[in-house]
Symmetry: C2
């Protein structure tokens, strides 16, 4: 029997509640289809800090490294706002990304038709929206050195961060974007600030060269990242796949997510390179939303982003494409049927809690 | 008689056409009110490159330094896409900002009521929108060293940019934001990525300290820059003054500008520190829009952003507040009357060219 090892890191805030609904789906798949999921669980973020004084323990990192896939909830909350920088909740997530070498972050920005009217954009601009943002996740200003605050004396300090990209890092993320574009509408838009940043000049050159060498069948466009932000707001449907660096990806994917009106529902996948021997990729799946400490523990959080992240896991880590499609379809159907958690509630719909939403999706699955 | 020295840098694309309409207003003010404007003109961007092989000549830089204010049109176009990095059109603008030490970039994102429906956002979200983005303009990743591409051999290159902020740089831009907030709704939102960047940690600390020391009467909020981008799209009217660094400011102000539906109409001011003796600030005024090479030379470009930039010049460089108010009111009145350039044309309005739009505003002034 296939064994599929999942390592669950529910994290803080609404993370554990959302993860609970995924657990139901895993149990169902094991029972109904002998899917062979074996789960283990660890701590990350503030809850890891409270237990171990670190945002993730070495033992849990080792488990994450050994798993076929990591499911990640959310981290952070006001309780940990004043902890030292090195052990802040986010450090756990950043260590996972870096140590697992999850360089490719896939962030679909889709608009569930049932929710088009929830967008702050005019519905006709977002109805049917389906963008895939590919964000480089292990390089750039997030990890470059020096990264420090220096005391200059006289009450002056200097804060320094370093944006660094090597050719191979750009090549491999561009490759992911082009490959995925081929399974979609075959268009890639690469975004940087080559008019201001040398890393942007290199980014532009390497994406262009990679395209020319291996992917000239895909349509490639370049856009300055600031203009890209504008165009996302002006006419988001012009995009198919967007590829960009770690920091621009952070900003642009958040803007794109908000456009859809489906923010609480968007998943993401962070993938490593295929293993030379087994072809397997390390992977982590997480909702785009945060830990929402204000509503944590109340049983009202929307579990859809977490469930949709598990659908991405089925697709990208286990090749269970039929199951992934079915789970995504189940989410859309439940939304179509008018069932809503509080965050996406609108007149005429039926408001439910976290567990009821999870159950409704499972029933449709 | 007062002499007011203006140095005009129309630049490329639609820059010269837009500047032409400002010239009319200057001539009118000299005649009607003895305003004493004395103008000189230089080259910047691609047109400077064509003439001198540099994006701005040393002679023109000297004139910019000596002027009371610089009016800047726009730079760039496909003609110069392949010129070397050091002399690309943008280099002229960046040199002006750096050498004149114009650290404070003021970007109002206002929604002209007549144009609320042109926004891609639902009109009720942007109608009456009035945000002031204060972007740090002489520091951060735009100017930090090292900034280079290194050849690593084996076909590998490394692109490096450096984000650097010193305490005093953050202090002075925060001061500008707090001072201006006092003249508005008394609220400042500071945006950075302190959860990832050390410069963000320092930014957050210095803004907090500056607030506590000198501006505790102003309401201060901190937001992560990615969340800020989201909130701008979700509910832009929650903001009054936003203060942020050079790169985040570039992105966020473009998103904010696009929200208003008035992109082609938004001005900006870039200010230096007050001179210790005279109290005068060096200053440059420029539209937020680019050089729009596709419509250049056709007499159809919208001159409003350039004219509104001149209104900011009247206000901030010459203290001509009544005149600035009147010019801004003239723009709003002309829009209310249904006169439109092609970029903002809508059914039921009357379409005019650049010169007619300028004339209409002058007639209302
Ligand atoms: C939590 C934070 C470190 C993270 C990031 O900046 O990458 C988040 O904003 C994201 O987009 O996943
Ligand atoms: C032209 C370019 C160098 C400039 C910038 O990046 O600052 C522009 O985008 C702006 O916002 O003024």
């Amino acid at each position: 029997m296939t064994v599929r090892n999942l390592f669950l890191l529910p994290g803080d805030g609404i993370g554990p509640e959302a993860m609970g609904e995924v657990r139901k789906i895993i149990a169902y798949m094991n029972e109904a289809e002998n899917a062979g999921f074996v789960t283990d669980e660890g701590l990350v973020g503030g809850s890891a800090y409270d237990a171990h004084g670190a945002a993730i323990s070495d033992a849990d990192m080792a488990k994450a490294m050994a798993a076929d896939a990591v499911l990640f909830g959310a981290v952070g909350g006001p309780k940990w706002d004043a902890v030292p920088y090195e052990v802040r909740p986010e450090a756990g997530l950043l260590r996972l990304r870096k140590d697992l070498q999850l360089f490719a972050n896939l962030r679909p920005a889709i608009c569930y038709p049932a929710l088009a009217s929830a967008s702050s954009l005019k519905p006709e601009l977002v109805d049917g929206l389906d963008i895939l943002i590919i964000r480089e996740l292990t390089g750039g200003v997030y990890f470059g050195e020096p990264k420090e605050i220096i005391d200059l004396g006289n009450g002056q300090k200097r804060g320094i961060d370093t944006q660094v990209y090597d050719t191979y890092e750009i090549e491999r993320i561009a490759g992911v974007a082009f490959e995925l574009a081929r399974t979609r509408n075959n268009r890639v838009c690469s975004m940087e600030k080559r008019n201001v940043m040398k890393s942007g000049v290199l980014w532009n050159q390497v994406v262009t060269a990679t395209h020319k060498e291996k992917y000239s069948d895909v349509q490639l466009e370049h856009m300055l990242a600031d203009a890209g932000g504008m165009q996302l707001v002006r006419q988001p449907k012009q995009f198919d796949v967007i590829v960009t660096d770690n920091l621009f990806g952070d900003m642009l994917s958040d803007v794109a997510a908000m456009l859809t009106g489906s923010l609480g529902m968007l998943p993401s996948a962070s993938l490593g390179a295929p293993d030379a021997k087994t072809g397997k990729r390390k992977a982590l799946y997480e909702p785009v939303h945060g830990s929402a400490p204000d509503i944590a523990g109340k049983g009202i959080a929307n579990p859809i982003a977490m469930i949709a992240s598990f659908a991405m896991c089925l697709r990208y880590s286990f090749g269970l494409v039929t199951e992934a499609d079915a789970l995504e379809k189940a989410i859309a159907n439940v939304l179509d049927s008018g069932i809503r958690t509080g965050d996406i509630m609108s007149a005429g719909s039926r408001q439910v809690g976290t567990a009821e939403m999870g159950d409704a999706i499972l029933a449709e699955f």
